[in-house]
């Protein structure tokens, strides 16, 4: 990633002086999203189940901003797990302004064959983890009467695809949490929104190659999304200037959500 041209960043998109916790399930979009926050001036603290994910986020943040990233590796889908995240965070940071839950593990299997263990694990990672960390970080935000929470979701929160029943249910659940926490914590200057992606890939593949795939030709914009397509919207939803919007998803999916 190239160094940013900061001169041109409109003030409404500045995160200077803000601190963000970015929780990642390991998706390859997370380093880009964390780097976007860093490019806008935020300090980033990474949370991941695996070392490799935390390292990828830290590397991306350092490349774009020169700053070091604090991190916590471990599961956070229990009260003890989320408390451990906050304990690590508090060792180096005084205040959290922003929480980004990019906690989507993808899973696709015919509904008839999904096991209880698969269902429970997926919901633990995608939904319970989102709630547990939002609850733990939310308590700090309630105490300080300020916060921005952004949940990264898929447009499968709205639409159905064969073999995606368990995954889509998690995305709809996170969308529902987005609405509920926005409504419940609105008076405490906490804003909760979601940014939704469509079919995306974190590599730059030539359009001609992409369009050999029917799924790409079906997408109105006729290309797959890239994590950088979410960057500016994510930054805005995390900023103090994002005061009136709350409780809503914003889909950046190449037009799929309006597709008949």
């Amino acid at each position: 990633m190239a160094l940013p041209s900061r001169n041109h960043l409109p003030a409404e998109f500045s995160l200077a002086g803000q601190t963000a916790i970015v929780a990642s399930a390991g998706g390859d979009e997370s380093p880009f999203l964390a780097a976007a926050l860093a490019e806008a001036g935020a300090a980033v603290f990474a949370v991941a189940r695996r070392d490799a994910t935390a390292e990828a986020i830290a590397d991306a943040v350092t490349a774009v901003s020169g700053r070091e990233t604090g991190c916590h590796v471990g599961r956070w889908d229990t009260p003890a797990g989320s408390a451990a995240v906050l304990e690590s965070f508090a060792a180096t940071h005084a205040r959290v302004d922003i929480l980004v839950n990019d906690t989507r593990s993808f899973f696709a299997k015919p509904a008839a064959g999904i096991t209880l263990a698969e269902w429970d694990e997926l919901h633990a990672r995608n939904v319970r983890a989102t709630f547990m960390l939002s609850q733990a970080v939310g308590q700090r935000m309630l105490d300080q009467q300020y916060g921005r929470i952004v949940n990264v979701i898929s447009n499968l929160a709205e639409r159905a695809v064969i073999n995606c029943s368990a995954y889509s249910a998690t995305q709809a659940a996170v969308l529902s949490l987005t609405r509920s926490l926005a409504v419940e914590w609105g008076r405490s200057e906490i804003r909760v929104n979601a940014v939704g992606s469509g079919w995306s890939i974190a590599e730059d593949i030539p359009l001609e190659t992409q369009r050999e795939e029917l799924l790409v030709r079906y997408t109105p914009m006729r290309r797959k999304g890239h994590p950088r397509d979410l960057a500016a919207m994510l930054v805005y939803l995390c900023s103090p200037h994002c005061d009136y919007p709350s409780g809503q998803p914003v889909y950046i999916d190449g037009g799929l959500n309006a597709h008949p």
Binding site: H8, F13, T178, S180, M221, D229, A232, H241, Q248, A258
Partner: protein, 269 residues
């Protein structure tokens, strides 16, 4: 990744740009480097807005326009093309809110209905039609329609505003799907309650005077539209189309109970 938020001389045509939400979008777009064709029915406000843009170092023209006349919409895009040589962004913001004055359906005249629909819905269609061709020819363009939370929910006796704004949201979806192949995107901005008119105006009797009824506890400000207008006008939003951006103090996320309703119930054994 964020450098593409800068508008760098992009040409934005905005209707209803002399007052209210439109004027604040003009100001934010100017700060981000846009040049503007500012349309409105009355010359005074749009000329003042135009002077403000020029004083800030960007280029602007004021084009008196009644968007309910398709010839005016065509002339607006022609004027922008003649002055700037291109139209990168169209913001359909002009709207009539006068039907918020309570009136039971049996007192609404054909003219009441048609005049509101012709400004709010036909006006957006006429301007989109006029701007879409030069955008498609250029292989790139952005249409931004300002709808309303009333385009998604019903308001008591607010027939024309709700119907026309719902139409605007659907117009956006059709534009997005139809024009994607030409590199043209279309999105809606969906504001909730944002006071913009003279506090003494009669229609204010039917509009909320405070944000007490909203989950966030406060009404919006016209400036709240600035960042999203800049984002949707910029290359940073190239992959977003057919969508709504809602800013409403979490009103639409809630709304099925009175504000503050908070049941508590334990799990059954």
């Amino acid at each position: 990744m964020l450098e593409n938020l800068y508008l760098d001389g992009k040409v934005v045509v905005i209707t209803g740009g002399g007052t209210g939400l439109g004027l604040e979008m003009v100001r934010a777009l100017t700060r981000s480097g846009a040049n503007l064709a500012i349309a409105g029915r009355r010359p005074g406000p749009i000329e003042a807005a135009c002077d403000e843009v020029i004083a800030a170092g960007q280029d602007a023209i004021a084009v008196p326009t009644d968007v309910s006349k398709s010839s005016d919409a065509d002339a607006l895009v022609d004027a922008a093309m003649a002055h700037f040589g291109r139209v990168d962004v169209l913001i359909n913001n002009a709207a009539m809110v006068a039907d918020n004055v309570l009136k039971p359906i049996w007192e609404i005249t054909d003219d009441d209905w048609e005049s509101a629909m012709s400004v709010n819905l036909s006006g957006a269609f006429y301007c989109a039609r006029a701007a879409a061709k030069p955008m498609a020819d250029a292989g790139k363009g952005k249409i931004i329609n300002v709808a309303s939370g009333f385009g998604l929910r019903g308001g008591r006796d607010i027939y024309m505003y709700c119907s026309s704004k719902g139409g605007v949201i659907q117009l956006t979806r059709v534009l997005s799907f139809s024009l994607a192949r030409y590199g043209v995107t279309a999105n809606s901005i969906v504001p909730g309650f944002i006071p913009t008119i003279d506090p003494g105006a009669e229609i204010n009797r039917t509009l909320p005077q405070s944000g007490d009824f909203l989950p966030t506890g406060k009404l919006g400000k016209p400036e709240d539209l600035g960042p999203i207008a800049v984002f949707l006008a910029s290359d940073a939003s190239d992959y977003m189309t057919g969508e709504m951006f809602i800013l409403d103090g979490a009103g639409l996320a809630a709304g099925i109970t009175p504000t503050g309703h908070a049941p508590v119930a334990g799990l059954e054994p």
